[in-house]
Amino acid sequence: MTTRYRETLIGWGLLAPAMILLVAFTHWPALASLIESFTSTARPRRPSRFVGLDNYEQILADPVFWRALGNNLIYAAGTIPLSIGIAMLMALWINDRIPGRTFARVAYFTPTVLPMIAVANIWLFFFTPQYGLLEQVTGAFGLPSHNWLGSPDTALAAVTIVAIWKEAGFFMIFYLAALQAIPPVLAEAANLEGASRWTFFRRVQFPLLMPTTLFVLINAVINAFRMIDQIFVMTRGGPDNATTLVLYYIYQTGFSFWDTSYAAALTVVLLAILGLAAAIQYGVLERRVHYR
């Protein structure tokens, strides 16, 4: 009993500094957002007061919120499968000893070490009407000029491509590590059984990569709601809210319109989305993952 007491004392003593900061900057703000979401924003002549579910009713009736959520779901549906799929392809390609694999590995991974804000400048240049590289290429084929970032139809796709470009190389290295951890005996056995390369991938490699896929998927889902830096540079949520994502809308509400209570309610909605995503992934997918 005394050792238990001693362990508790030392354990919490070691944990305390980190725990205080964690509570202060993660748990408390999450809770505070929830509390504040039931109040109104203090204005010079109207102090903050309890308003019940008013902020949430406002969210339900807010076309910009629905636009942002819709955009975010499209952004997620674009970035998650494509970045994971491309990452897997990259890893499968350069896992083999083929000529040019070192160059390819560096090229794939380079976007990961660049700041998103710098990367977005590069892509802004790429998409610029007339000057940009994309216009040079389409112009060479005689296609009409198109303002990729200025048109609501293509702006969201453009910022999605940037996110995929940034993420795929990062995810690739996890697949690369997982592929190298697969025992070579399995390949020899499959080969003796006469399995084709495709069968070997589908029946052996892909299932063994599932834990990695789950890990990467969790990261990709979080990033789909968190990675918004490029929007500040490329579109600022425009044109006509075509690239406003949920977190960007929270930023605008909180720091451009200074409506902190409404921003708190939006934050609670975002936390609920992230929590739901986590529950689905851990609950449903975990059971289907084949662990070695």
């Binding site: 999450a30 070490v113 240049f125």
Partner: protein
């Protein structure tokens, strides 16, 4: 394994791989490794994708080193110049931004190493009351990053009087759930016998941590350090909100303000500034790319 009558390709590859392994012991080889035409095809595919992947960056390099009138004229005769870098450097206080980012990244990493080590040690080796709950609270931060809680964290920082200071940017990231988790996993693999031996010799808990655990986890510290430095060097949204003066602003925010200037800065200068701000990480990556990739793998897998 039969002779050459059966389907030629896989079998031949398998034989090769066996011989290869015996002779040069260069790691495991794979009977599904492509050879001949299929290897060439795969190589071409990988290289084409690689070129596509760095094309925007190459374009930026071209623009940064050429005069504005040559930006989109891809001619080998176009003269190279450093003029854009000089003008970018003079147009904004980049020296100060570099210093701020350096201080920021160092402060965060130092804080993270100390706090995460202590917390990870507690989780790995002490059966204290409330450990499971405490660990669940830590893991929650993996899903809810501080970036999402902008509004409330801004309020906390203004109560603490830390708006527009470098500690104000750093503080929310110092207790890193990722770091705690990573180090806990590592510490758990260290045999308890080493612990007990040190304890018999009268070492205290902190002494055991510093003399046994920390040295054995060195590769993980390096991996975590690289991941942390590159993440915070590149971080943008929170620093944008917390800072509003040159004295505290990191490079990313400085670059954004510089390139969104309304006076219409020209492309070559923006590209030069972009390369300048990414240069330290990019150069470090190109020099040590193998270690970089290894570190990211190590930090992610455990």
């Amino acid at each position: 394994m039969s002779g050459t009558a059966s389907p030629p390709h896989p079998l031949r590859d398998a034989t090769f791989s066996r011989k290869g392994r015996r002779s040069q012991a260069a790691g495991p080889s794979n009977p599904y490794e492509p050879a001949g035409f299929s290897a060439a095809l795969q190589s071409v595919g990988a290289i084409l994708l690689a070129i596509l992947w760095i094309l925007p960056l190459l374009f930026c390099v071209w623009a940064a080193f050429h005069a504005i009138e040559d930006t989109t004229r891809f001619s080998l005769a176009a003269p190279w110049t450093l003029e854009n870098f000089r003008r970018a450097w003079e147009a904004a206080p980049f020296a100060r931004y570099f210093l701020n980012t350096f201080v920021l990244v160092t402060m965060i990493l130092a804080g993270q190493l100390v706090l995460c080590t202590l917390a990870a040690y507690a989780f790995a080796r002490f059966a204290f009351v409330g450990r499971e709950i405490a660990f669940a609270l830590v893991l929650a931060q993996l899903m809810i990053m501080p970036d999402v809680l902008l509004v409330e964290n801004y309020r906390t920082m203004s109560r603490l009087g830390l708006i527009d200071t470098i500690p104000g940017i750093a503080l929310p990231y110092i207790a890193s759930a990722f770091g705690i988790f990573l180090l806990r996993q590592t510490f758990r693999t260290i045999p308890r016998e080493l612990d007990d031996a040190a304890r018999v010799e009268g070492a205290s808990a902190v002494q055991i941590l510093l003399r046994v655990y920390v040295p054995l986890a060195k590769p993980i510290y390096i991996a975590y350090g690289l991941v942390s430095v590159s993440f915070h060097w590149n971080n943008f949204l929170w620093p944008l909100i917390v800072t509003n003066s040159v004295e505290a602003r990191p490079l990313t925010v400085g670059l954004q303000i510089f390139s969104s200037g309304d006076q219409g800065v020209d492309w070559s200068i923006i590209c030069a500034a972009t390369l300048m701000t990414s240069a330290p990480l990019l150069v470090a990556f190109l020099l040590f790319q193998r270690q970089f990739v290894q570190s990211f793998i190590r930090a992610g897998i455990r």
